[in-house]
Symmetry: C2
Subunit: 140 residues, 2 copies
DNA sequence: TTGCGTGCAAAGGTTTTGCATGGCA
DNA sequence: TGCCATGCAAAACCTTTGCACGCAA
């Protein structure tokens, strides 16, 4: 591998951002929330830097980037490989915003089915099922 | 129903926008494309008006609103109820942008499965499977 | 020392809002 | 005639870019 980008300095900012994303344990944040978080902790990381790190982490597959349909701003979420997030589906509750990691044999057949029967290679990291979760269905 | 919104005047602009969305037969457009289209046809509809109609149509469930993940701008697409778009899944090719309406017994079981086994009411109109379509997989 | 990383400020782009006017019912 | 719809301009946001300086290697 000669093409390997030489861009991998270890910096306080980069480390802080990755650490914080990991610490969220699956829940998502917006750029704004990150800016405010680091302000609150007095880490003072410029928003430009945050954008650049998020973009890089997303490109590396370490975090997921997506948009809630009714919302405006982009959300980012750490991908915990130990939880095999590349191999299961994600359900997003439109009411409370909860993200559910769905490990389920039935759903896991979807990927293979789409590929074999429909010649469609699904992107598990980007695909999200939207709907209403158990708790919010009960509350309604 | 007393709460019915009295806001339903029939206007040239509203009719043109709905007609055009229907005429696209499933493919999506951005606000920009709509603005340019109506300029080209010399219908001259202000972009503010376009935004407001799209928002209303989306709220009424007549059009779908979504964001292509790697893109910036929001896309809108007419929902053809005659095609039972509420009852099947949609696959979006991340490479060529094609939207595939997937009528398939296996996939259609997903809705019931999620509801019965996971107590999750999926929103078929908003959920989109992202991935790579047959054609683009062959081309790559 | 070298060159990427950082962050301010400014630019760029999209979407929303205020308000006076126009047009449907 | 009464009100909602329209559309211009401006505001509000979100994200990217330019550039000088700081800092990791």
């Amino acid at each position: 591998m000669v093409n390997k980008r030489p861009t991998n300095y270890h910096t306080r900012q980069g480390q802080s951002i990755l650490d914080y994303m990991k610490s969220l344990q699956g829940s998502h944040v917006t750029v704004n929330q990150l800016v405010r978080h680091f302000e609150a902790v007095e880490a003072d990381i410029g928003q430009t830097t945050i954008y650049r790190h998020l973009e890089k982490l997303a490109a590396e597959g370490k975090i997921r980037k997506y948009v809630l349909f009714d919302d405006k701003s982009t959300c980012y979420q750490y991908i915990d490989n130990e939880k095999n997030c590349r191999e299961h589906f994600h359900l997003k509750c439109e009411t409370c915003g909860a993200l559910i990691h769905m490990d389920c044999d039935f759903l896991n057949k979807i990927e293979r089915h789409l590929l074999r029967e429909h010649d469609f290679q699904i992107n598990m990291l980007k695909t999200v099922f939207y709907g209403t979760c158990k708790k919010c269905r009960a509350g309604a």
